[in-house]
Symmetry: D2
Subunit: 209 residues, 4 copies
């Protein structure tokens, strides 16, 4: 229907998360109508994404790549952040939402995925071993360490949190100072008792204070 | 447009909560098409609502009216329920949702409304004085007492909870055994960090455990 | 959970179209909280619905019942309406929406239901025979007659329209003045070509003018 | 918050139609996680969009660019299509939806925009003059010509159609064979009389047949 070059572009754009062929077509025609400069900028930005973005060796946040040596992101280098706290998040955008609250001053650990009960290989795909080693390093070094499991309150998020707890618990035996916590459960902003689910009510009751 | 008798019925039905004139019209024509027996049953049920339903003198749940004496609902009479716990709810349907969890075994206090920041008279319209007196009676009698503020996590629910805390705090001075708690705040079931509001994230962080 | 009298009322209210048990409970507590007078008014209105509302003998609109003789609604008696036009509608609320346009000045025929492909008996449940006889009476009497099939543009509405056309077509053989028409098909207000279905586009193309 | 190269990409992606900063961030991280090959393919496709896609000189559909001479798209070259019909569409994706019906065999004219009542310059931004000249050329050449105004049934679509009618009407005086039509208005698939707007009911009544 559309010319081959546009068809090809639609195909690629419809692989973007949450984008179907219809919206991909709208993107393609938007790009065609936009001036030459915009498309050039976009191509350059894609190139720089590949050439210049790396992940932090410690927490796996994205960062601008630098020459030589160990790569450490701005948080991991920032002496004012509380180095004893590690919030484990599923993905970087979760972290950015926690930052916006201004209420968290610790460090992060980006898993880059979750454990899916249906995908036996999923534990290998996310940064679990790196988390274990990072906590161990701290404990052996005599540093205090609280791992905050900040995964989503979904089946996958809960599975992931449970899995991590299981993995880290041996460390707890040898290093009783290790704390493993989870984000509090209860009523979120705007919850009405008439409509919320029973599990949330149970959590809200047992976490009352 | 419609005959007067139907128009009058539509008018009354459109006062039902959440019902506009269009759905009220649908109700009216549904009732007209239903057989005679259904409408008679409905009229009888409305009569019995007026003649036979009362509220418990202690917790203000609805109950079947009985002859003579003090009116006590089945919960308030039930020796197996934990009499030291009073969950303060905005309305009876909130209570029924807590019951479904099977996790709560105390008593209730139905406020029958909330305090609205915009309605100066709203504190007088809900059962606050009765709550104060109920708690005082228990404390004076030497009974333990925890008041659980189980209002919604909305502006009005929070205002109401704050107001109740302020009212009950003098009792706390004289009876340090009085506990006033609130339902826990944090991630509700299904919450995703990428989408939830900052206040909920803050609550989830400070209530982590 | 709730007292028996409230439970019974909830049960009846949850038979209202589109109403589940939760909203029915909200209705019941709303009625309990409303003053005595409102519930009495509602009971009276329900009584009058039964005692005073009838349907027109000709078009089956609802009307206030009158003593003796043939029942004729205000439209069927109104000499200024175009008596040669009969708009066949599924239900009375469809009719009221057509009236609001101010663009139709003919009469109506309320089927009081549709023909469902899954319910073999549905043709007997709606006023088809009455429509046939009404059209025949007019034609035999030498009156002009256009039957406008104003059913919904849904599977059931289309099935019903097709069925009526089949039933009336023998009349057309003997009375060529009989016209049978259907509401126009095409773009409805706000339709965007990018989103609408193919059948609507086809209709819009073949009905272009 | 995010590294500069990612921030820049998010900024560009959030200019895509219907995309806010949050979804743009999701796109950016998706692209970062995808393998190198995918981003390369996307960059190539963007390049080819610029280098190889042109628009047809006659109907302004996009087409693969060719060397030399007049550019004619596959439809404009296709002898089997009815050359007397020109469907004027707002944008190319509208056209592709009409093609899917298989009910249209004429040619198109892509306006590449609409006339907005709020933008005085909008008539100059779309291909109106080209439409006039195309129709005139056909009529002078003795060819039959029907211009089908296939704009959306929205305020802007209707304004655009009215404007085009006004522009083409002088041609009609000199060439009475010119037909200007609009897509039919009425019930679209699934319309229910109880819910649709009055204008659609009016159109459906006056277009009944």
């Amino acid at each position: 229907m559309y010319p081959e070059s546009i068809q090809k572009l639609i195909e690629l754009l419809s692989k973007f998360p949450g984008i179907g062929p219809r919206q991909a077509a709208r993107f393609a025609f938007f790009l065609f109508k936009e001036n030459h400069g915009f498309v050039e900028e976009l191509r350059t930005a894609l190139k720089e994404l590949q050439d210049r973005v790396a992940v932090c060796d410690v927490c796996f946040r994205t960062m601008e790549q630098e020459e030589g040596g160990q790569r450490l992101c701005s948080f991991c280098r920032d002496a004012r952040r509380d180095r004893s706290l590690i919030a484990v998040v599923e993905k970087e955008s979760d972290m950015s939402n926690m930052e916006k609250t201004g209420a968290y001053h610790g460090l992060y650990h980006v898993l880059s995925g979750v454990i899916s009960p249906l995908d036996m290989d999923s534990p290998k795909k996310i940064r679990l071993r790196e988390l274990y080693e990072r906590a161990e390093r701290m404990l052996v070094g005599g540093e205090p360490c609280e791992v905050i499991l900040a995964t989503n309150s979904t089946t996958e998020g809960d599975t992931t949190a449970l899995y991590i707890e299981r993995i880290l618990s041996p460390l707890k035996d040898t290093h009783p100072s290790l704390k493993i916590t989870r984000l509090g459960r209860g009523l979120s902003l705007g919850s009405e008792l008439e409509y919320i689910d029973e599990i949330t009510i149970k959590n809200a009751l047992s976490n009352r204070k």
